[in-house]
């Protein structure tokens, strides 16, 4: 065993065995601190494994088949190394943040279980991205779902929470079934679930099976990634999890689905059927647009962030779909460009989204709410936290000098490169997608002006916000580690671009990236210098400011109720896109005969999103009626059950007899 293998074995054993064991055996605070330290060292070890195996291209890492009934082994190629780096780079700051967070929020008993599951959650995601057999992959995939559901349930218990977790588990298992289906479709051709054999079989399979694998992978991973219409669980499960867990779920868990899709569609299949790119593109466009439109209407910060995750997954899949279209036309430069853009956006999103979820956690620990309409003025009270959250907001809005811009720029450029395709269909559709992504980007900027502006700026809207305190040191450190990552990639994108190009070249043989698009790495630092230099010069023009009360049109003074709230801020956009929202409004006014001078007025607006009504209701009703019919089989009479068993036995025996 070389050092890389040792480090990887250390990583798995610490997260999977030692940390849970320590926490279960010992109850003391010192044991917990030891466990947290171990998780951190495991994260660092994982990062080192990722970087070194990326550089030296080691593949096989660890074979655990002796310990399990199935082939169970791990390997890290460049794609896995990239995602392993993503998991570890986000896991370390989140762990640092979580330590004071759980101390503040949880009882001793809850803390022990939370940390044990936290560690297992990290383990499951690492298993998913490094597995090299189908069994290992599916085991990690299943563990990931169950452990995250457990983490949500530790936070609290209520019928609503149980319902949300039920929806989460249900959707995840539909997705897991589709993912398992992909593997089994390969089985007749590869005769093994080893990734190497599957890859070799991928090219030789008939077209129909390839299409079935592609669709099944798209549905399975799409459900995990939160593509509309399979995103239903996402805005339910993410907001109710504790903030560090939401950060992991949004930041990393969704990316494992991106990993899985890339693994299947690009690595195993080498690009889907000709229509695959268009299917992905259309679904991704809807996901991006609807995701951000729902996000902007939210005033619960964590739900807003969850919907914005839907939007960002849409952007990632826009890049993946474009890449598939280019692949179908054998245009390898464009395919490489779009794929680099998509992978980089997945990486960037992991950083800024976990930063923002942690920011929401910091807000809720000092104000006990994440309702934007109750917040305000936090920048004065928590300046360090606020600055980090501001970095996250700029990044997620795709503004230059921050990381989100670089990846969106690459995807924009790949759309533009689509105009060079000879095929008229692709040549028109891809450039038109610029408009869609522009709208998504513009709305995202609006959404995060609102989120940051309403929560952190202006006057506090409640007593809790008025008396907010700066977050503890550990939280600030975690936030700023992620914030520094966002700025670092934003100003020096070359750090990640070159490795990503080499990754894509391994993944799709012959693919590359047009040299001119790498120029972004040189131009962005110059732009940063010009913008910041001019700003500094302009700042020199100004004297020190004096405080003066704002003129309140002759009233005694401004109150916080005169400010725009989150709901009002998004009103113009909600009115323009009213077709998307279709809220059920109820206004009750008493007395009814005096429209202008009501004694009391009650207003209620419930947004059952229209797709739920159209898409899910019929399915749910179909399944319930099917279940009612199946119930007739279950009489509760033991003789009948014995008859079933007997019939099954007889039919199996006849089947075996006549099979030969």
């Amino acid at each position: 065993m070389g050092p890389i293998e040792m480090a990887f074995a250390y990583l798995l054993s610490v997260l999977g065995v030692f940390v849970p064991a320590i926490l279960i055996v010992s109850r003391g605070a010192r044991a917990r601190r030891l466990a947290i330290t171990l998780i951190l060292t495991a994260g660092v070890a994982g990062g080192l494994v990722a970087v070194s195996s990326f550089l030296w291209q080691t593949t096989s890492l660890l074979d655990l088949s002796w310990a399990t009934p199935f082939p169970f082994s791990f390997a890290v190629d460049r794609l896995s190394a990239f995602f392993l780096l993503l998991v570890c780079a986000v896991a370390v700051p989140v762990t640092i943040f979580a330590s004071p967070y759980f101390d503040l929020h949880y009882s001793e008993q809850q803390r022990r279980w939370t940390w044990a599951f936290f560690s297992l959650f990290l383990l499951s995601m690492i298993v998913v991205v490094t597995a090299s057999t189908g069994f290992a992959f599916l085991a990690g995939w299943e563990l990931m779902t169950l452990v995250s559901a457990a983490l949500i349930l530790i936070e609290g218990d209520s019928p609503e929470r149980r319902h949300n977790v039920f929806v989460y588990l249900l959707m995840m298992h539909v997705g897991a079934a589709a993912v398992a289906g992909c593997f089994f479709l390969f089985l007749p051709y590869s005769h093994s679930l080893d990734f190497g054999m599957i890859r070799a079989a991928g090219a030789a399979m008939p077209g129909g099976i390839r299409a079935a694998v592609f669709l099944s992978a798209f549905v399975g991973f799409g459900a995990k990634a939160g593509l509309i219409p399979l995103h239903l669980w996402l805005p339910r499960a993410h907001p109710i999890a504790p903030s560090p867990v939401s950060a992991l779920m949004s930041g990393i868990m969704l990316k494992t689905a991106v990993y899985g899709f890339v693994r299947f569609a690009f690595d195993f299949l080498g690009g889907g059927p000709w229509w695959s790119g268009y299917v992905v593109l259309v679904v991704a466009a809807f996901t991006g647009l609807l995701g951000i439109l729902y996000a902007i209407a939210e005033h619960d910060l964590k739900r807003l962030l969850a919907y914005s995750s839907v939007e960002n997954i849409g952007i990632v899949f826009l890049g993946l779909g474009t890449s598939l279209i280019f692949l179908a036309h054998h245009s390898l430069l464009g395919a490489g460009l779009a794929l680099v853009g998509a992978l980089l956006h997945a990486f960037n999103h992991a950083f800024f989204k976990s930063l923002l979820f942690l920011g929401a956690g910091a807000i809720s620990s000092s104000t006990h709410t994440v309702d934007l309409n109750e917040l305000g003025g936090l920048q004065r009270r928590m300046p360090v936290t606020g600055a980090a959250v501001l970095i996250g907001c700029c990044s997620i809005a795709g503004l230059p000098l921050f990381n989100g811009f670089v990846s969106e720029w690459l995807i924009f450029r790949s759309f533009l490169a689509g105009s060079s395709l000879v095929d008229a269909k692709a040549g028109i559709i891809l450039p038109l997608m610029v408009g869609i992504l522009a709208l998504i980007g513009g709305l995202a900027a609006a959404c995060f002006v609102k989120a940051f502006g309403v929560a952190f700026l202006g006057r506090p809207r409640s007593a809790e916000a008025e008396h907010a305190q700066e977050a503890p040191l550990g939280m600030r450190v975690g936030l700023w580690m992620l914030g520094a990552g966002c700025i670092c990639i934003g100003i020096l994108p070359g750090l990640l671009l070159r490795p990503l190009v080499s990754l894509v070249q391994v993944l799709v043989p012959g693919a590359g990236v047009p040299e001119e698009t790498l120029s972004i790495a040189y131009i962005i630092p110059w732009i940063a210098a010009i913008v910041l230099g001019t700003s500094a010069l302009a700042a020199l023009l100004r004297p020190r400011a004096r405080m003066a009360r704002t003129w309140a049109c002759g009233l005694p003074g401004l109150t916080s109720r005169m400010q725009y709230t989150s709901t009002v801020f998004s009103k113009p956009i909600r009115s323009v896109f009213a077709q998307v929202y279709r809220p059920d409004r109820k206004v009750e006014q008493l007395p009814t005969d005096q429209p202008y001078f009501p004694a009391s007025i009650a207003y209620q607006s419930v947004r059952t999103t229209s797709y739920e009504r159209v898409l899910y209701r019929p399915f749910v009703e179909l399944f319930i009626s099917l279940a009612h019919r199946l119930r007739r089989l279950q009489t509760g009479n033991i003789q009948i059950y014995l008859l079933y068993i007997f019939l099954a036995l007889v039919s199996l025996l006849t089947f075996l007899r006549f099979q030969r």
């Binding site: 060079s420 522009a438 980007g441 900027a445 002006v449 001019t534 302009a538 004096r546 401004l558 916080s560």
Partner: protein, 313 residues
């Protein structure tokens, strides 16, 4: 030598910006049968504001003070993309139009946050309306530029301009007409002119851009006003460079540069006259009609993109 020309062009865009505002105001006054103020008036106002005291609301944070500065930096950086009299710009050949549009977005983002930090109703009102308009305006802005980029097979502004310069003036395509229409509408929306926004109003029902800077005073206000003047000038220069670059100097001779500069002044004057006519003739659109206006611009720009398929082959 080349870099000196580029810096001079940038300075022209920055320092000439208040003059553009002054001339437009004068044209408008003439169209309304008023005598109007001197065309140098905006410089005097900037100078006056810069010498005044800077006031901040007691509830605001550092964001309030940083926003105007960052807005100014971004706008200057955008101006560095645009060739004026010579087919080159400081950032024109390396940075592409996506960067240009998103840098404008960064400036707008910071100003909106500054407005919300004021803590009064007007800042939020302006920021909320600006958020709607700018997110919708981004679509035709980028798509119009995409159409031109496809025609010229270049994504950098100078490359697109150089390509147009080699075309025959009388051989312009449908794509150019469509793209010009949509980008001209975008310029009206982006710079907050009629019929999208009224730059002279201070009535709360109609304010958009003005609403955001209501709490600013003194040098901060001067920076914002200057930045929006630069933005207007840069947008006009962008229209000229993309759709009427003929006469622009490509070599390094001083004579060519001088004539190109004179021609540029003439072209800008034409646009300024057009703008003041539009502003005097059009009524401001109701807030909820602006999305229709921008929707038309988006549809036109989408047509421009689609037509590139036929024009190019």
């Amino acid at each position: 030598m080349k870099i000196m020309v580029d810096i001079l062009q940038l300075l022209l865009l920055i320092l000439g910006a208040p003059l553009v505002r002054g001339i437009i105001a004068r044209f408008k006054a003439r169209l309304q049968k008023r005598r109007g103020a001197s065309i140098w008036r905006p410089y005097v106002e900037l100078f006056k504001l810069l010498r005044k005291e800077d006031l901040t609301p007691p509830t605001s944070s550092a964001v309030f003070r940083l926003a105007p500065v960052l807005l100014f930096g971004c706008t200057v950086c955008v101006a560095a993309f645009i060739p004026v009299a010579h087919v080159s710009a400081l950032l024109g050949s390396r940075g592409d139009f996506f960067l240009l549009v998103y840098l404008l977005g960064l400036g707008r983002f910071s100003l909106s946050l500054g407005a919300l930090d004021g803590g009064s109703a007007f800042g939020g009102m302006g920021a909320s309306r600006e958020a709607l308009i700018s997110s919708l305006a981004e679509v035709p802005f980028l798509m119009g530029l995409v159409a031109l980029a496809i025609l010229s097979s270049r994504a950098d502004i100078t490359g697109m301009v150089a390509w147009t310069l080699h075309q025959n003036i009388f051989n312009i395509s449908t794509v150019h007409i469509l793209a010009f229409t949509s980008l001209a509408m975008v310029v009206l929306a982006e710079t907050g002119r009629m019929p999208v926004d009224n730059p002279t109003t201070h009535l709360e029902l109609t304010m958009i851009h003005e609403g955001m800077l209501l709490e600013y005073s003194g040098p901060s206000l001067a920076l914002i006003e200057w930045a929006s003047a630069i933005k207007l000038h840069a947008m006009l220069a962008l229209l000229i460079a993309l759709f009427g670059p003929w006469g622009m100097a490509a070599g390094g001779s001083g004579w060519g540069l001088a004539t190109a500069l004179l021609l540029y002044c003439a072209k800008v004057t034409v646009l300024m006259v057009l703008l003041s006519v539009i502003e005097s003739a059009a009524a401001k659109l109701r807030m909820y009609l602006v999305p229709d206006f921008l929707g038309v611009a988006s549809a036109v720009s989408a047509l421009a993109v689609i037509f590139t398929m036929w024009v190019k082959r």
